[in-house]
């Protein structure tokens, strides 16, 4: 291990040296400038299973930061300061992420951290940050524990969480005629959280709500056929699932053959943008799906500007994840401007009351002071074929405001007190 660390230090110093040789102008001008840049450390899993999504987060964040830097930087008490990003890959491993966090803060002298696509990583980095009084801004990882029972002063999150997403789906379905629900969710903490949140919301909002079957295939199942027949045998009116990625794809392909989508309505929680693209024409029409940022909506000029900037930068179309990154950057920049500094405690105080205008249907979203969770509104729609795109899109889009789906401050504080 030690040898590895040494090697990586050696390699990075060689790299920095090479960069200095390659771009002498940039570095000398940087030293000549009176104000040093604000350094932001990114803790993200850019290699591994979720690397594509994870890179979208990072690139979206970069688009906003580039915007700011082009204008000369962000206005602080001392004047304009540019923002510099330092990215470290944690390969989805919490222990590597904590090591990265330490290195970013102690050696790279970053002012604060952003990132995390995996819940496990966010929880690990968050507890390190709590101990060391370092600000961490979560942009994607969804476990509600991070801002509820395990929340603290030093963590913020701009994306929604499992509690909010499940409740948003319940809000959406309270006026729909389905009461007999079947469930199929991946058998690990994420699947259970989404299930519990939705069931909790439905029990409150929908009279006559009934669970007719619960299926728990494990993550990475390649054969869903017995689950599908069991689901159909229970004859639910609608099915709720938080299966995602490969699992969701396999489930859809196999369910089609059984005519499942003709017999019952299906709500695929995260079958919005992240799944529509890889599924292409194999997707099914009439599925309820959630997303936080459908890229064709609302078609505002800001939306279009982001789309173009993103495409110029990366050569790809933005995804939901790119928007999550972009919004996280908007918050951070707004916070620094308000505080006039990137100093941790002052920045936290400023961030606690920051609102931004998103370029997603969610509209204006704010940080909630008590738990540092943003009220990012979710968007539900129905899948439909669109000749304009090589994949399906969502129609009849409805925005569910974030605030009513959040757990109350009193409940969260009571949970935190209990956790201690």
């Amino acid at each position: 291990m030690k040898a590895k660390v040494k090697l990586s230090i050696l390699l990075s110093s060689v790299l920095i040296f090479a960069l200095m040789l390659a771009f002498p102008g940039t570095f000398s001008s940087a030293t000549a400038e009176p104000l040093p840049p604000i350094k932001v450390g990114i803790v993200q899993s850019v290699s591994g299973m979720v690397s594509d999504f994870a890179l979208d987060d990072v690139e979206g964040f970069r688009v906003k930061i580039d915007e700011v830097n082009e204008k000369g930087g962000v206005m602080t008490k001392d004047g304009l300061r540019k923002i510099e990003l330092v990215l470290r890959d944690n390969k989805l491993k919490p222990d590597i992420a904590v090591k990265n966090a330490k290195e970013l803060i102690l050696e790279q002298k970053c002012d604060f951290l952003v990132g995390c696509i995996s819940s496990g990583v966010l929880l690990a980095v968050s507890s390190w940050c709590k101990e060391n009084k370092v600000l961490i801004w979560g942009w994607d990882a969804r476990t509600h524990h991070a801002t509820q029972d395990r929340g603290h002063r030093y963590i913020f999150r701009s994306s929604g969480n499992t509690w909010m997403n499940g409740h948003a789906a319940a809000y959406y379905f309270k006026d729909k005629p389905y009461t007999r629900w079947g469930f199929i969710n991946p058998d690990y903490s994420y699947g259970h959280s989404e299930f519990e949140a939705f069931v909790h919301g439905m029990k409150e909002l929908k009279p006559g709500f009934e669970i007719v079957t619960e299926q728990w295939p494990k993550l990475g199942t390649t054969d869903f056929t017995p689950f599908i027949t069991a689901l159909m045998a229970a004859k639910p009116e609608a099915v709720y699932t938080s299966l995602w990625g490969t699992d969701a794809m396999t489930f859809i392909k196999q369910s089609k053959g059984y005519g499942l989508f003709k017999r019952m309505k299906v709500c695929g929680l995260w079958w919005g943008m992240p799944l529509l693209r890889p599924m292409g024409q194999e997707m099914v029409e009439g599925i309820y799906a959630m997303t936080e940022a459908p890229f064709t909506y609302p078609g505002s000029p800001e939306n279009k500007a982001f789309y173009d900037a993103y495409k110029n930068r990366t050569g790809r179309m933005p995804s939901d994840y790119s928007l999550l990154g972009y919004h996280a950057a908007s918050f951070v920049v707004a916070g620094i401007e308000k505080a006039g500094t990137a100093e941790t405690e002052a920045l936290i105080d400023a961030l606690e009351t920051v609102c931004i205008d998103t370029i997603a249907p969610a509209g204006r979203i704010c940080v909630r002071k008590c738990d540092h969770q943003c009220d990012y509104g979710a968007t539900m729609g129905i899948t439909v074929k669109d000749p304009q795109w090589p994949w399906f899109v969502l129609k009849d889009i409805e925005v569910i405001p974030g605030a009513p789906t959040m757990r109350s401050c009193e409940e969260i504080m009571a949970e935190r007190a209990k956790a201690k």
């Binding site: 299926q215 728990w216 017995p226 159909m232 990625g245 490969t246 396999t250 392909k253 053959g257």
Partner: protein, 295 residues
């Protein structure tokens, strides 16, 4: 719940069983003849799926394209692993079993990284061929035609392997080499060649399993590890090296899982392991295996 639901659950279980059988059949064949545990089997299955994806993209996802892919992709994978056997594995047969375990495990990890390098991390799926895109109606319910095809292919492969091993000259030398390597070699049969052939055939069967799964599932590089574990469970329940045992064990695993899901969904995943535990306690040598008495 009507009895039709039970029948459908049975059919679903049968589909699962056939996938299990195809992954396990190659393993049990290699184990029976070469007497080695091939950890790479799951990786072969995974590569079979990925090459199917590539070939189907090449041929454009038509019916003919699918048929051609089903022939070409598994052979391509089998050839690749046959070369690996000649270059890497062959020299370790006479060594202690540990070397082979490490080597095949190493190959598994290598295939995993190879798949990631070639196909990347984005989830892939091969298109469903048009001829299978309609369901058949059984008891007023829909059953995917592709699953019918899969069940047929499972039985077809069983009889094909059975025929090759029991009714052909090559199969006879295979069985002879399995029984007594030295005596077979003394009779003028090229034993290393037979071994290479068996390894290649084992790889081919697993790759067919992967190829058949490709149009119905999403692919990820780690499906090989998952597939490998199931293959081991099936082979252990079957009795090491027994082909009919593998079919029966796959059938039991598939159906136990299917009905577990129907009756007690919260514990569904445990049922297969429960069968494994019971077999290991009651008949440690497996359903069709021979008891070995160690003196």
């Amino acid at each position: 719940m009507e009895w039709g639901d039970f029948f459908f659950q049975f059919l679903s279980g049968l589909t699962t069983a056939m996938i299990y059988f195809l992954i396990a059949a190659g393993l049990t064949l290699i184990l029976g003849v070469l007497k080695i545990m091939n950890f790479a089997q799951g990786g072969i299955y995974m590569l079979g799926a990925y090459t199917t994806y590539t070939f189907m993209k090449l041929f454009g996802g038509t019916n003919l394209g699918f048929c051609m892919t089903l022939i070409i992709a598994p052979i391509a994978v089998a050839v690749f692993f046959t070369i690996l056997e000649i270059v890497l594995l062959r020299r370790f047969y006479e060594q202690t079993a540990l070397y082979i375990l490490l080597m095949t495990y190493g190959i598994l990890i290598a295939t995993y990284d190879m798949a990631r390098m070639i196909w990347g991390w984005i989830i892939k799926t091969a298109p469903m061929p048009p001829m299978f895109q309609r369901p058949v109606e059984i008891l007023g319910r829909f059953f995917p035609l592709y699953n019918v095809f899969l069940i047929f292919m499972g039985f077809f492969m069983f009889f094909l392997i059975w025929f090759i091993t029991k009714r052909t000259a090559w199969g006879r030398s295979m069985r002879a080499a399995a029984d007594d390597r030295e005596m077979t070699a003394a009779l003028g049969i090229n034993v290393p060649l037979v071994f290479t052939g068996v390894f290649g055939m084992g790889a081919w069967i697993a790759a067919i399993g992967g190829a058949l799964v490709a149009p119905m599932a999403g692919m990820a590089a780690d499906m090989g590890i998952e597939g490998g574990i199931i293959a081991f469970i099936v082979v252990v329940i079957a009795g090491l090296g027994s082909l009919p045992g593998a079919l029966l064990a796959a059938f039991i695993c598939g159906e136990v899982q299917a009905f577990g899901i129907l009756v007690l969904p919260q514990f569904a995943i445990a049922f297969m392991y429960l069968v494994l535990v019971i077999v290991l306690i009651v008949r440690p040598w497996g359903l069709f295996g021979k008891a070995v008495i160690i003196k």
